[in-house]
Amino acid sequence: MRWLAAELLAFCRWCNGSFFGHGIRDSVWLFPFVEIFHLLALGLLGGTVVILNLSLLGFRFRGEPVAAVARDVRPWMIGSIVVMLVSGFLLFSTEAVKMYGSPAFQLKMLFLLLAILFTFTVHRKVTMLEEGHIAPLWRKLAAVVCIALWAAVALGGRAIGYVNSSGAS
């Protein structure tokens, strides 16, 4: 594990010194500009996650197959995750070494990994299965876990701003 930590720290140092890390840090308007994309994608990702899971819970789009709702929202869900990852990486690169030592950031990354893994394995499978193939309890549990994991990612993101209270939060 020690070599991994060393590699990660080296990577963070490289990010800090990279042209984008430098460029965004030194610019007055680039950081907020990237943040706007991060927030817009947050809205879209959250919207698709909420719609899909409300459908899985049976609160919305009742009588319609969950698999159809999943197919409808999936491209927008994946697209917004990509925008969030790219914009998030750019924001991270401006103070990567500081983030390396931030407990809020570490927790956020842990939950992000879990959220992505869960959403595209177990959750995907559950949404694509036809009703009756799986007990309603498991469907509801998958929905709750999915929402909780993504909410944890979002809360971790908020915490980063407050734990390192430099500039606008």
């Binding site: 817009l40 947050l42 809205g43 996650v49 909420v50 409808d72 929202v73 500039g167 606008a168």
Partner: protein, 163 residues
């Protein structure tokens, strides 16, 4: 301005300013509610443009998403007013705040115009393979305004003097 000064001097405004937790909690709720409010708005706009969920009927989408949309909007307004009340004079003095309010009004106007025109005759075009140009225009206007509103909101945070 005297109204802003009055609000600034209320005990409530003072509490929002001085409390360690009030502002972060309210701001977190404001940002997280973006997921049900902004997310639903963007998806509906993209639907009006035939980009998102093209096979789904718009009337059904409105019916399914409206409770979340209105509930989310209410939370956004309440938390937004709370954040504003922490320092109304400073908020009002920024250009971004004024821009955000103007764009919010325009977005509301856009919804009203749509509801009184094409929205009234939803059943007429709901099953068409393509949405009418008016619906696309409403979707584009809404998308542009909401991107602007998010940008202006971020702008306020940078324009305000740090607490």
């Amino acid at each position: 301005m005297s109204l802003l000064a009055w609000l600034h001097d209320t005990a409530f405004s003072e509490m929002m300013r001085d409390s360690t937790w009030a502002e972060p909690i309210v701001e977190t709720i404001h940002v997280l509610t973006l997921t049900v409010f902004l997310g639903f708005v963007l998806l509906l706009d993209l639907r009006l443009l035939d980009l998102a969920m093209p096979r789904r009927r718009i009337s059904v989408l409105f019916e399914q998403l409206n409770p979340g949309l209105f509930g989310g909007f209410a939370v956004m307004v309440v938390t937004g007013v709370l954040l504003f009340s922490a320092d109304p004079i400073a908020f009002y003095s920024t250009l971004f705040f004024k821009l955000k309010m103007i764009m919010l009004l325009l977005a509301g106007l856009n919804v009203l115009v749509f509801n009184f025109t094409l929205g009234r005759r939803l059943a007429d075009w709901d099953l068409d393979p393509r949405t009418p140009w008016g619906a696309k225009a409403a979707g584009i206007v809404s998308l542009v305004l909401w991107v602007g509103i998010v940008a202006a909101g971020r702008g306020i945070a940078y324009a305000l003097p740090p607490p």
